[in-house]
Symmetry: C2
Subunit: 277 residues, 2 copies
């Protein structure tokens, strides 16, 4: 039980609950000052368990957000919430109904269908392993096998961006750019349409590099964080991007999700997340 | 334009579109045999652009799924869809309205509020970098700093699971278990409540390891993939898990999302994804 001013949100799913969680969070972030408590109930497969959660939700006067794809469970939730005047959201059902009408097919009612261990899933696992293996220019062979090659000087979010894109099924290799280091010859063999040059603002890099040095327990004002050093690196990167003719993205005010969306849309590579089997 | 039998789904967002994409995909996976074409339109910030997309949607007789948080854009979409009899779903608005009522606050109407470059975001970036740095037992110091330590023999999804958990803000280190190798002493200093022992079925491991050898262009029937070798490793892992008294999960029929949800729920570690600032 929470205090009166706390808004309780119950996330209920017969699978992982990722869809309901993300939707709930997208709504909640529009109220950064509200006191919202989220309780997650994944893998709910029996009506007894479901009912006991809904009873708790009623005691908490909670907002119920569920993605139950099993019709019987879905009906149980609906009946309980309506008869107990509990506010509930079931964002999947209307979309499923519309697809049912248009496709003239019945939904498989399979919880966790998003998480089938199918070819797409295993390709994603391979993409994640690929990104870890070919992170930080560890093996230049990766550049030739990658769907996307990320280039960037230190602190331009190459690693997290690689992992995020990998989770969307893209094979990503990244290369840190250091003016003193040799550019692997494989880079010149890659189709420039697959290459993304990451850049940032000098002040942003200065501040983030100083912070990094502090984290490492080192003097923040090392060569690494100095503005003239950063300028030298930025010029080196820009020259390389010009020579390659690749897409260039300034990441200084962008999240990895935003940068990833720009990459996918601009490179016009296949939307692998939506691959149908 | 697609053929008559194709169902077109337009995903429209004033930000990345991740929420709408995931919701759309969760619905679509319930119709594995339907011919569904998804078109994504992220970062829509102007009504002219929005209207031209909606006109295209009308020509495609598409289902429109949007998460426009800007009230003016949201209204534009609603008016167009209603007057042109276009089926549309706006899953965020009713949840935002309910939160508005309960919190007595106005939504910030900020597109991409999920992707604020705030403390939670930078902690997530650090968690991803941490997971890459401490993947594969690279540095035993990681075990003491981690929120979650994953143990497992080869091919029990340690790396992709680490990356998935990292993307949910958990600092994860993993250690491959090899009967012949020494277990780093740091493992015994970690709170067993933070440790997860991954295991799998011997046949599943046999098949996945044979496949891995084939990928590497090697003989699939090496020592690595032999059943008696796998049995030896499984016994070694089980003994260690018993000694540690840690949570054990058999991953053979589970996706990384499912395993991650089990870990987060069982270890009862804070739901970092919902951290409010």
């Amino acid at each position: 039980m929470s205090s009166n001013s706390t808004i309780n949100v119950y996330i209920i799913s017969d699978s992982v609950g990722g869809t309901a969680s993300q939707l709930g969070q997208a709504a909640m972030t529009q109220f950064p000052d509200a006191d919202i408590k989220v309780s997650a109930y994944p893998f709910i497969r029996g009506s007894d368990t479901l009912l006991s959660i809904l009873e708790k939700a009623e005691m908490d006067n909670a907002i119920v957000l569920h993605t139950l794809v099993d019709k019987a469970l879905n009906e149980t939730a609906k009946t309980f919430c309506q008869s107990h005047e509990l506010i509930f959201f079931d964002p999947l059902s209307p979309i499923i109904s519309e697809l049912e009408k248009r496709s003239e097919m019945a939904p498989i009612q399979k919880p966790g269908a998003l998480h089938l261990l199918d070819e797409t899933y295993f390709n994603r696992i391979k993409a994640i392993e690929f990104a870890v293996k070919f992170d930080d220019g560890r093996d230049p062979k990766g550049f030739l096998e990658a769907d996307i090659v990320l280039l960037g000087i230190s602190r331009t979010s190459k690693t997290p961006l690689s992992m995020f894109l990998a989770n969307q099924n893209y094979k990503v290799a990244n290369l840190p750019l250091i003016p003193e280091a040799h550019i692997p010859e494989q880079i010149w063999e890659v189709d420039p349409k697959k290459i993304v040059g990451l850049t940032s603002d000098r002040e942003a890099l200065n501040s983030i590099r100083r912070e990094r040095m502090i984290t490492y327990g080192m003097n923040p004002d090392t060569e690494y964080s100095k503005l003239d050093r950063i300028d030298k690196e930025l010029v080196f990167a820009k020259d390389l991007y010009d020579k390659l003719g690749c897409l260039v993205i300034n990441v200084s005010k962008k999240s990895i999700e935003e940068t990833a969306a720009i990459i996918i849309n601009t490179l016009q590579i296949e939307h692998k997340k939506f691959e149908q089997n």
